[in-house]
Symmetry: C2
């Protein structure tokens, strides 16, 4: 297992619209994607693109709003009513290999491997097995290998 790119950090919010206004007006974000629904995951998301020396290809900020009453984000927002940092997502070259790696270390994986917000397979690792950090592992999108 080799640590891959830090693809995004997930930030929970009660209102994506309000978060977008905050990132644009208060923090000066210039590039935010259109929100879209991921009903199977119970979330509505969009991405704030952040700059690097070579373009808008920095680690993204994923804004996450509950999709409905059964959203897994509701528990987080009950504890953190203003929202806040929810998870980290690292890329890997091969999702099946990564799953085997973490399982072999006895780390609890939350549910099956599924398609994430970037259209590639993902899974989540239990924060209690990851030093308090809810951790998403996603396969690097094709054509963006490092």
């Amino acid at each position: 297992m080799k640590l891959g790119r830090l693809n995004h950090i997930g930030i929970a919010t009660r209102s994506i619209a309000e978060s977008i206004a905050h990132y644009r007006q208060t923090l000066g974000a210039a590039d935010i994607t259109e929100p879209f629904d991921l009903p199977e995951q119970g979330v509505k998301v969009c991405f704030v693109n952040t700059p690097t020396g070579t373009g808008m290809d920095g680690t993204q900020i994923e804004l996450i709003e509950p999709y409905d009453e059964s959203s897994p984000i509701n528990g987080f927002l009950a504890k953190n009513p203003l929202g806040g940092q929810h998870h980290l997502c690292f890329e890997v070259a091969d999702i099946a290999e990564a799953r085997d790696w973490f399982e072999g270390q006895g780390k609890r994986i939350l549910g099956p491997t599924r398609i994430g917000a970037h259209g590639t397979p993902i899974f989540f690792l239990h924060p209690k097995d990851m030093m308090g950090q809810l951790t998403e592992i996603m396969e690097t999108p094709k054509g963006e290998g490092h």
Copy 2:
């Protein structure tokens, strides 16, 4: 105000040594800096460098351990005994200009501008004014302007 590079995300831990072992052994991090003390800020820190297509210049993960009993990290760890995501840090070109900008928007700044872990001036914004997100603003190190 223009959103700058996402320099690092801060992760609180009871033990930097344990976190380093976790990042190396479980997540496969190859490049972690030596821990050092920032006694004025009540913390001991080190950085996990993350890869991008052009090198180990991705958004860093700052591991943060309390320096002593009066550390501001202790309150976070009391609520999150395993540790976890603590703050985000964005770069700006000019720290004084950024301070004026946020003050002009009525955002509470936590204490004076001071020298941060990268040797450049920083300040923190109150999470209650930043949609639940403790936010650090740091001046881009000289020679690394984007």
